[in-house]
Symmetry: C2
Subunit: 351 residues, 2 copies
């Protein structure tokens, strides 16, 4: 039992560090803070406050909040560190939310949170079923390729592709700096989505030519994004399927948050196709929320793997050692893992 | 924009502390870790491991986990700090989960997480609607008293009452020590549920007599709990409604996680009834996740208030200053706020 030491003079309780229920209760109810932020993104509160800050009464009107919960909702966002409220009761964005959650800015990363709010939050409600059955719990419940449904619906596709940019931005910027790009002249981003990875790389490395490879439906969304970043001259789109087509040739082939979507056989096939498409001396760069080899530290990587359980028929995340093993089977040498940012690392192999 | 400083020699990136998307992404996806713990409690993993630890293959069989997700699920619980895995691959509880999440122990607090898993997680999926409409989003969607539905179903009632014990245990133990009980001889716990508050108080204070007051349906569950703690001789049950009946008299009247369930008029009425029931010199003790007066720090208290929005037609959480104001209106003096544990504080008033 928890031992309470009563100090007679101060009447203060001293709790031992452990055992305490704090971490259990905090984590078990963490979906409250999560969903509060997701609803705020859904209601575009940060976009609205980026236009101009406002007090409670003004914001109720502008955002369509009912008086009963409005103040608690906004003050919860203050206490969670996503808004500031000054002495006059004016709410405004923090520097983080002003930069990353204003839809009008190219730095917006809220796409992943919009998708989390619409899709992942309810699907994760069936986690127990997923763990008991091994079956995905999203729109494609039952086993078909989840990307087929997603890519068939232009609105969902656009949300998904923006979401991928949002969750990948930090890692993409890190790869643009950390990889030894000076040794190479071209790169192809496999499963490029909106194209944020090849965008960040070519923005940071003006000597590079880039290709984004994805299903043809992605083309217009990719080209719009590339144009908005002024990269039309150096970055182009190649439409195709990595199941039925060869990969476009380049000095460096990148797989950003791609391998974890697929089962083991597909992971291996993709690395074999990458080896075939690369010139001698070319490099493959795989990044994901790579799990630590001991599988004890990178909680986000392990949870992302559960997200792949919920979202895909066979996908899973993996350790650096797992990935290096598959790369070596495909023929790559000099394989290494390098940390990027947050939970993400890249695994590099040389042909 | 985020500024990346490239140090040419180390090729290391230095991110400034802010702005970064880390806190946004971490909170926005925190429902993953939350739901993982809730599913583990639902599957009684900690109860099973308390019987005996086991390796992956054994646990898959004992717990009914599908091979696809079993290892990621268990290792996510390791990385989140709720399980240990040793060098031989044997999973076991941490000291915290062994004590608080083994259903066979009286220290089990998982009831609140069972309820969070069954009820609150899906209801919070409608937070946006709640904030826009001001209406509750649970079984009683539409406005009726949520407790009527809950109290009418014995299984739901038992889960709810156990949940209340789980979420209140730490605060109850703190009140049992921190309040100056030496000055009083009896207490009544209003809305006692399973009776954990009066249990912790009378366990710690052998000179006290206690009464638990709640709707008559609660009686058998209360009496079972009191008996299991060996307190039959000093603690009894009084059945009634605090809407239609007077409160049982005692030197100290306690409201633990009660006032936040109700609208302002009911909060005031309850404090007036408490004043009427107390002798001169008697004390009222109200506890909840009392929000700091500036409404900027106690995020849990503000989120609990949103939970009351989702769960009740008119309930809300409040600051210490709010509560002292209502107590003074009812006639109480010497009112003060004292912190208990975690997000909970008590507000004390003297007649």
């Amino acid at each position: 039992m928890t031992i309470l030491l009563l100090l007679p003079q101060s009447r203060e309780l001293i709790y031992p560090m452990h055992p305490t229920p704090d971490h259990i209760l905090h984590t078990g109810l963490a979906f409250w803070s999560s969903k509060t932020l997701l609803s705020a993104v859904e209601m575009e509160i940060f976009t609205e406050l980026a236009k101009h800050p406002g007090d409670l009464a003004t914001l109720q009107g502008r955002l369509g909040l009912h008086p009963r919960g409005a103040r608690d909702f906004l003050d919860a966002l203050v206490a969670l560190g996503f808004l500031h409220r000054d002495g006059d009761g004016i709410y405004r964005n923090t520097p983080d939310t002003e930069l990353f959650l204003d839809k009008a800015k190219p730095s917006y990363i809220g796409g992943i949170l919009e998708m989390a709010n619409h899709r992942l939050y309810p699907f994760w409600g069936s986690l127990t079923t997923a763990v008991r059955t091994g079956e995905s719990q999203n729109e494609s419940k039952g086993g078909q390729d989840p990307f087929t449904a997603l890519y068939a619906d232009p609105a969902k596709l656009r949300e998904f592709l923006r979401a991928m940019s949002g969750v990948s931005r930090g890692a993409n910027m890190a790869i643009a700096q950390k990889f030894p790009w000076g040794e190479y002249r071209s790169c192809t981003d496999i499963g490029t989505a909106q194209g944020d990875l090849v965008t960040q790389i070519t923005l940071a490395q003006p000597h590079l030519q880039g290709i984004g490879f994805d299903l043809p439906e992605v083309g217009p969304i990719f080209e719009e994004y590339i144009a908005s970043n002024g990269l039309d001259a150096r970055v182009s789109f190649a439409g195709g399927s990595f199941f039925t087509d060869e990969l476009p040739k380049a000095d460096v082939l990148l797989f950003g948050h791609i391998l974890h979507d697929w089962d083991l056989a597909t992971k291996r096939m993709l690395l074999q196709k990458a080896y075939a498409a690369l010139p001698a001396g070319g490099a493959v760069v795989v990044y994901d929320s790579i799990i630590d080899d001991a599988r004890k530290e990178n909680a986000f990587g392990l949870l992302m793997s559960l997200n792949m359980l919920i979202e895909t028929p066979g996908g899973f995340d993996y350790t650096g050692a797992d990935c290096i093993g598959w790369m070596q089977e495909a023929g790559f040498t000099n394989c290494r893992v390098e940390h990027l940012v947050g939970p993400d690392s890249m695994v590099i192999g040389i042909k």
